[in-house]
């Protein structure tokens, strides 16, 4: 039985090799079909891995609560003098820590966009008041010095850790750690550390934009409160803008991943009691992760279907050629029938030929598909160097810049299986047409 299969395949190969050009061209349809299935899935996979990585960076066990500025006029803010007062409070932080047992830690952040200055160098950056835990939470690595410590917090020290980009902008030559102090507003901070470059995190919903860690300045949150205070004034056109905010963000860490969703509900409920004006938002990375997973599946189905269409087109090409082949080889079919070939034998013969054809095409397509990541990088660097201007790229295309297509191992057998399936599907009709020929008429043919 097995040797017979081998023999039929040899036979199929032989008659295909007889018309190399024709077989090759017919195969191309399948080659590109399989290639595009693999490539599409690889790109989809790469994009979703990228998104997942960014979401995971937010922490699957974390719940992020952000202060949200209520829409102008809609709030019944309790502050006098026209200064809007909104957002999370230090009392919220304490309450969340105390009342929800699942919460392991709660890390507060206060942030403000300010210009940093060192001598004649300036840079727009984000001043972040935080705690030592912030470093681990955001996986910040230091290239120099140390991160802020509890001692810094207690003493409300004027110390700052510079993010990579700020450091290189303000200190193009000098070493920032050598007793240097930078100026933010009218306050001086001495530099105690510099971070390594870090990729931006995912932009998640309207409440939390993608964080670019590279433009940050980290100071102890107590220092922030002591030196700057809750009420801040920001110059704006025609005067000063002021607002009163205690905390911009609280990141809660939950003990067990399974409790994250439920705990986030509790957090929301707890806060709603004290914030009737809804000046906060709860972001759950785990939820985002699940959404991203669903999105990925939809993405795969859509991309896969597009690629499948080209496979079907390839299949029709095969059917076309096989029908022509059957007509061309009518005499041969008649001879085989006269020598004792049953209808089944003829069907097998032609079906094997199409399957060998589409299978070989599938194999070549897989080889091409494996080259996808390489080809993608080439095309991307070409596009970035000659076609697109990197400075004008949006966030989405930055994602395109960083993503790596990943050939999913399961897509290889899938694509090969589909190509063989296409061969059978589209080969069946020509094969049956061949088998149905009347032997006498076939022998009389041309």
């Amino acid at each position: 039985m097995f040797s017979r299969v081998i023999r039929t395949i040899q036979l199929g190969l032989k008659s295909l090799l007889l018309h190399k050009l024709r077989s090759g061209l017919t195969m191309l349809g399948i080659v590109f079909g399989v290639f595009s299935v693999i490539a599409m899935l690889a790109i989809g996979e790469g994009a979703s891995k990228q998104a997942q990585k960014q979401i995971v960076a937010l922490g699957a066990r974390n719940i992020i609560v952000r202060s949200v500025k209520p829409v102008e006029g809609s709030s019944n803010d309790q502050s006098g003098g026209g200064t809007p007062r909104y957002g999370l409070l230090r009392s919220d932080l304490r309450r969340l820590q105390k009342t929800i047992p699942e919460v392991v830690s709660a890390i507060p952040i206060r942030e403000l966009n300010r210009e940093a200055r060192y001598r004649k160098f300036t840079m727009q950056s984000r001043l972040v008041g935080c705690t030592p835990e912030y470093q681990e939470l955001n996986q910040l690595r230091l290239s120099k010095g140390r991160f802020i410590s509890d001692t810094d917090r207690a003493s409300r020290a004027n110390v700052v850790v510079l993010a990579y980009e700020v450091a290189s902008k303000l200190f193009p030559i000098e070493d920032p750690l050598e007793d240097r102090a930078i100026q933010v507003g009218d306050i001086y901070y001495s530099v105690i550390g510099v971070t390594e470059p870090r990729n931006a995190s995912a932009a998640i919903g309207g409440s939390l934009s993608g964080q670019e860690f590279n433009k940050d300045l980290y100071i102890p949150i107590e220092t922030f409160r002591a030196r700057i205070g809750d009420q801040v004034y920001t110059p704006k056109q025609g005067g000063m803008d002021s607002e009163h905010v205690e905390l911009n963000q609280i990141t809660l860490e939950v003990r067990d991943v399974q409790d994250v969703i439920r705990t986030s509900e509790v957090v929301r409920g707890t806060l709603e009691k004290f914030h009737p004006q809804k000046d906060f938002a709860v972001v759950v990375p785990l939820e985002l992760l699940k959404q991203a997973e669903q999105l990925r599946q939809i993405f795969n189905v859509v991309l896969g279907s597009i690629a499948a269409i080209s496979l079907v087109v390839g299949g029709i090409g095969i059917m076309n050629i096989m029908l022509a082949t059957v007509t061309e080889r009518t005499r041969e079919i008649g001879i085989r029938r006269a020598l004792g070939a049953r209808r089944r034998d003829i069907i097998e013969q032609f079906l094997t030929e199409t399957v060998v054809l589409s299978g070989t095409g599938g194999m070549l397509g897989i080889v091409l598909g494996l080259l996808t990541p390489f080809a993608f990088r080439m095309i991307r660097s070409f596009a970035l160097n000659f076609v697109l201007d990197p400075k004008t790229l949006s966030d989405t295309s930055k994602m395109f810049q960083e993503m790596q297509p990943e050939v999913a191992p399961w897509s290889l057998p899938l694509a090969f299986g589909i190509s063989v399936g296409i061969g059978i599907l589209f080969g069946l009709y020509p094969a049956q047409a061949a088998a149905k020929l009347d032997p006498i008429e076939a022998l009389r043919h041309e």
Binding site: L18, G334, R336, R337, G340, A341, R342, D345
Partner: protein, 289 residues
């Protein structure tokens, strides 16, 4: 006498809608084992139709066909395929070799369709080579049909027809495309097979060719018109002698052809002995062994 094939009141009608063509209108024939029959008759008399029925390529409208003791007339397509493979050897006017196959592969072909599709054994391969040698193509087993002359191609077809030891050999105008010397070559091969006991039924238009058979059946309008028993049969030697008389072709070629072929039991060595012995060595090297 044991029958190789037997047809009883065989009818074949082609229903063409408005008209029904009655190609065979009741033919009854017996073919004893070892028979050598030439079917004659004018064009359209139903010779090919009869031969196709005998070959299991078609089913009769009515009547019986017993082949090797088995009723073949009501078999389905698959069973008929097996019958064609096992009991019938076909030789066609236009050779019908598969052009992309070598001589040897063409000869092997019927073995691939044996019931159960067994793999070719070394014994099978040896038999194929023996057959190729037997029809004088031992040196050309790797050639393809387009590299062969018509006569050589027909010899491949004969070797192929012999592969599964068929009950009967059917030849439809096997010499129709060949010149007279090559026809003698082919007919000599058939004659040898018949002398070994093989049953041969051939259709021909040429009275000369029909004289090689033991008897002639003349058809007319789908029925058997008359039967002629050949009292004096053509032998390879007599055919060649007649050929020489006509001086159609170069003597040397003709003699070489004859010399290359194995002698038949009924050959009369006296007639052309001188010529045969004279040419033997020159051609032996290429055809024998």
């Amino acid at each position: 006498m044991k029958m190789a094939a037997q047809v009883i009141d065989l009818q074949k009608h082609y229903d063409l809608g408005p008209v029904v063509v009655k190609a065979l209108r009741g033919v009854s024939l017996d073919f004893p084992e070892g028979d050598f029959v030439a079917i004659m008759g004018s064009s359209g008399s139903g010779k090919s139709t009869l031969l196709n029925l005998l070959g299991g390529l078609d089913r009769p409208t009515s009547g019986k066909y017993i082949l090797g003791g088995e009723d073949v007339s009501q078999m389905d397509d698959t069973q008929l395929s097996t019958v064609r493979n096992q009991k019938i050897g076909f030789i066609f006017q236009s050779y019908n070799l598969i052009s992309q196959y070598t001589v040897l592969e063409n000869i092997e072909l019927p073995l691939h369709y044996r019931p159960g599709h067994p793999k070719l054994s070394p014994v099978d391969r040896e038999k194929c080579e023996r057959m190729a040698q037997r029809v004088g193509l031992g040196q050309r087993m790797d050639h393809r049909p387009f590299q062969l002359s018509g006569g050589q191609q027909q010899r491949v077809a004969i070797a192929r027809a012999m592969m599964n030891d068929p009950e009967i050999i059917l030849a439809d105008e096997a010499t129709g495309n060949l010149d007279s010397v090559t026809s003698i070559e082919i007919m000599t091969l058939l004659r040898n097979l018949n002398d070994e006991g093989r049953t041969i039924i051939m259709v021909t238009h040429e009275p000369d060719i029909a004289m090689w058979a033991k008897r002639q059946l003349v058809m007319r309008d789908g029925v058997l018109f008359k039967e002629i028993v050949n009292e004096v049969r053509t032998t390879p030697q007599s055919a060649l002698a007649a050929q020489e008389d006509k001086a159609f072709v170069d003597d040397e070629v003709a003699k070489a052809t004859l010399a290359a072929l194995p002698k038949t039991a009924s050959a009369d060595p006296g007639v052309v002995s001188g010529a045969v012995s004279g040419e033997k060595k020159s051609d032996n090297s290429s055809k024998k062994k």
